[in-house]
Amino acid sequence: EADIYQTPRYLVIGTGKKITLECSQTMGHDKMYWYQQDPGMELHLIHYSYGVNSTEKGDLSSESTVSRIRTEHFPLTLESARPSHTSQYLCASSEFGYGYTFGSGTRLTVV
């Protein structure tokens, strides 16, 4: 049913490694988002994009970066992973004026 895909679903990686979390959607949505979700449930917006070549930082400061070269693709990169980056990362997309469609998430563990 999901038209937004996140890979990998689970990732365990060592400190200092560079990682890229992939997010792709097939719905042609202009807006895309990355959220970080605490173990205690709360969602924090870390990045969003209004379209190709548009990226903005969200409410929660993050050491990650994003890019939007194609409408359907919105990858998130951590240049040097740390244990404090351990979290679940959720990607979402939307048409202007409508609700969000979420991917299944990537659960990242940095050891």
């Binding site: 999901a2 937004i4 996140q6 988002y33 449930m41 709360e42 969602l43 917006l45 969003y48 969200g58 959720l90 990607c91 979402a92 202007f96 004026g97 609700g99 969000y100 469609t101 979420f102 991917g103 299944s104 998430g105 659960r107």
Partner: protein, 120 residues
Amino acid sequence: AQSVAQPEDQVNVAEGNPLTVKCTYSVSGNPYLFWYVQYPNRGLQFLLKYITGDNLVKGSYGFEAEFNKSQTSFHLKKPSALVSDSALYFCAVRDKAPKGYGGSQGNLIFGKGTKLSVKP
């Protein structure tokens, strides 16, 4: 600033009983309100939304929500809970749009979430 509050971290209900998950909001202007559900190890799924019109909004899986302007609330309800309804529930409100964009184009602001547990 626009905001939503979910006053309960957890709600416990017996199967077959009615359930309510509470949400209050604070907005300037007309609110655009949403409910999402998250099952374990999954992303959020859309349940229902209120933009305008009837105060009682019907959504997926038998859920409904009542918009109450005087109490600034948008509580999620279901007449008869199922064990399979156990999940995290998030209320959200649309933020003000950035300059140059229409009112429907702000980002969603999510509440902290409420864990619903339905026991057999």
